[in-house]
Symmetry: C2
Subunit: 353 residues, 2 copies
């Protein structure tokens, strides 16, 4: 006997019922949260700290495809990408608001799954969910998250502080999220083709590709890197998170800091599984790292004098250095050729990215 | 010769171009805004004030119909409804983030118009636009606004502070926005019917109805009321803004304060043009006030001892008083009958409303 999964229409709970249902288990974790969900606005107290605010929109069919994105992962990711933006200011994320627009195809259980992912990310990173808006939509799902964080004034790192001779560093590895997306798209296509009448149905083949899939479906904000840098007393001169690909983010830092850059192809950290998948797709792994998006690693610059401190740090790669603005933005290839970097925005249209 | 209005495809500007284009004229107005648009997150400084945060989502086809909603008004309203939530906490709004998802049917000029309305509201109320996210959507337009404001701890007014014997007050008049919506819907219907082949086309007839239309299309946050109450030294015991209709908001206050209420039908402020339109539609004007939404007036309670101060205040009506929880929520009709109030959410599904 097959166990039927319970499906509840949202109309059964009603509007206030749904909100109550989704938010009843939310407990406040931060001392800065005076009042969360349940009034016209949330109330926060940051004392003498500076406040950081960022917002991101995820739209079905544009930023995610529910064919291969589990709702729980989607909820987690929607939170993670916003926390990543607070990290990129060298701040500590504390609160989020979550607004969702949902069409009739979603049941209460589906939205619960989404919230399960939101809650998981909030729990993992000690974040309070303090408000939101839940609305109908005529088509599809849309999630809008705003994250709020804190920092001491002197600790905040902008995109604009890179200086000539600074070292350019990235955390983790790049290109994996992009290759994960390529794999998901390919298997979706294979699955769709094989689902046609008369075709032999095959299940998607994801074995051995767990890393790149997880990088695409469940990115993590690098709060650990921010903490590590603070511990060893390094304040980056500039920083940004890599949501649109390395090229695009380098361009933001160079443009805002009025500098140029030189990075070395062989220094770009790329996981072996990313390389393998890139080879399968006939994509140069560096291209995935430079132009693929959604790794949510940190790109930052530090003063040259920090080299000894940074060079052996786990999960940090020094990939190049800042040069004069007039010398442009360049990639030095494995065979020593100098290639100008052109930025390709990825999912873009973002004001605080 | 007809002057053609210039229409620019968004793809002509590109993603960064569009953001640059829409945000280049934005100037910071508040000392609390350290850094607005242009980095991973905005930076705010509230010193020792408490911070208020609220968010609202407006979805095409659910919250607005572009057939009769000019984009400029829509932008204005998206900001206004969020500022209203900050007011409802007795706070001063200072910053907003705006995220929009736009489908291909919108041109650059259309989005400019939307932003023109956003800018107008920001200018009128001294608000800084500090960030956002601009994304594609497969269908229609969606606007997500988060507003941030400030208040001294002792000034913040929650929904939960109403006490037995407190006076129940509302600002302005109620039901007009709802009747404005009914009129727009009727004229849309007439227009659609008359646009069928063979029909004689008529233009919608809105003359004489400017007030109710403006109430629906261009609501104003009652910052003036908040200021007035502060001036005459009245701190409400509880407060909420009327977005879903008087019944629903009364229910929120009573539920959160563990009290009941008694309001008098003949004390509910309703504009004569609202009454006339309600009569045309065979709707009792009180019903429009009680169950219609989107007036964005303030519903608040004050201690009985403030009666002398409040009774002659322009644009404030005392409509009843707080009673014991066990006595329920009641409307006293013109002929003295006691009718239990049942709340009907209007566009609901909101966590911080």
């Amino acid at each position: 006997m097959k166990l039927e999964k319970k499906e509840t229409q949202i109309s059964e709970l009603g509007e206030f019922g749904l909100i109550e249902h989704l938010t009843k288990s939310i407990k406040i974790k931060n001392g800065t949260t005076i009042k969360g969900i349940g009034d016209d606005a949330a109330v926060l107290d940051y004392n003498n700290k500076k406040i950081l605010v960022t917002t991101d929109l995820l739209v079905e069919g544009i930023h995610f495809n529910l064919i291969y994105t589990p709702l729980k992962h989607l909820g987690y990711k929607a939170v993670a990408v916003n926390l990543s933006d607070i990290c990129a200011m060298n701040g500590v994320p504390r609160q989020i608001t979550v607004s969702i627009a949902i069409s009739k195809k979603f049941t209460v259980e589906a939205i619960e799954e989404l919230y399960e992912g939101i809650r998981l990310a909030c729990d993992k990173y000690g974040i309070d969910l303090i408000g939101g808006d839940t609305s109908s939509s005529l088509t599809g799902l849309l999630i809008s998250v705003t994250a709020i964080g804190e920092a001491n004034e002197t600790d905040i790192v902008y995109r604009s502080g890179a200086k000539v001779n600074d070292l350019i560093c990235v955390s983790g590895d790049l290109g994996a999220a992009y290759m994960g997306l390529q794999l998901l798209e390919r298997e979706k296509h294979v699955f769709t083709e094989n689902s046609k009448p008369g075709s032999y149905r095959v299940q998607p083949d994801f074995s051995g590709h767990e890393y790149i899939l997880e990088r695409q479906l469940k990115p993590e904000p690098r709060i650990d890197i921010i903490k590590k840098l603070t511990e060893i007393n390094i304040n980056p001169t500039s920083m940004i998170d890599i949501s649109d690909g390395l090229s695009s983010e380098l361009m933001h830092i160079c443009k805002n800091s009025n500098v140029g850059c030189k990075i070395y192809s062989d220094k770009i950290p790329i996981d072996i599984t990313t390389c393998n998948m890139a080879n399968e797709f006939n994509i140069a792994p560096e291209t995935a790292a430079l132009n693929g998006g959604e790794d949510y690693e940190l790109l930052f610059t530090v003063s040259l004098k920090e080299y000894e401190k940074i060079k052996n740090l786990k999960e940090i790669s020094v990939i190049g250095n800042i040069i004069d603005e007039s010398d442009g933005m360049n990639l030095i290839s494995d065979d020593g050729k100098q290639i100008p970097i052109t930025a390709q925005g990825w999912n873009g249209l973002t004001q605080n990215e």
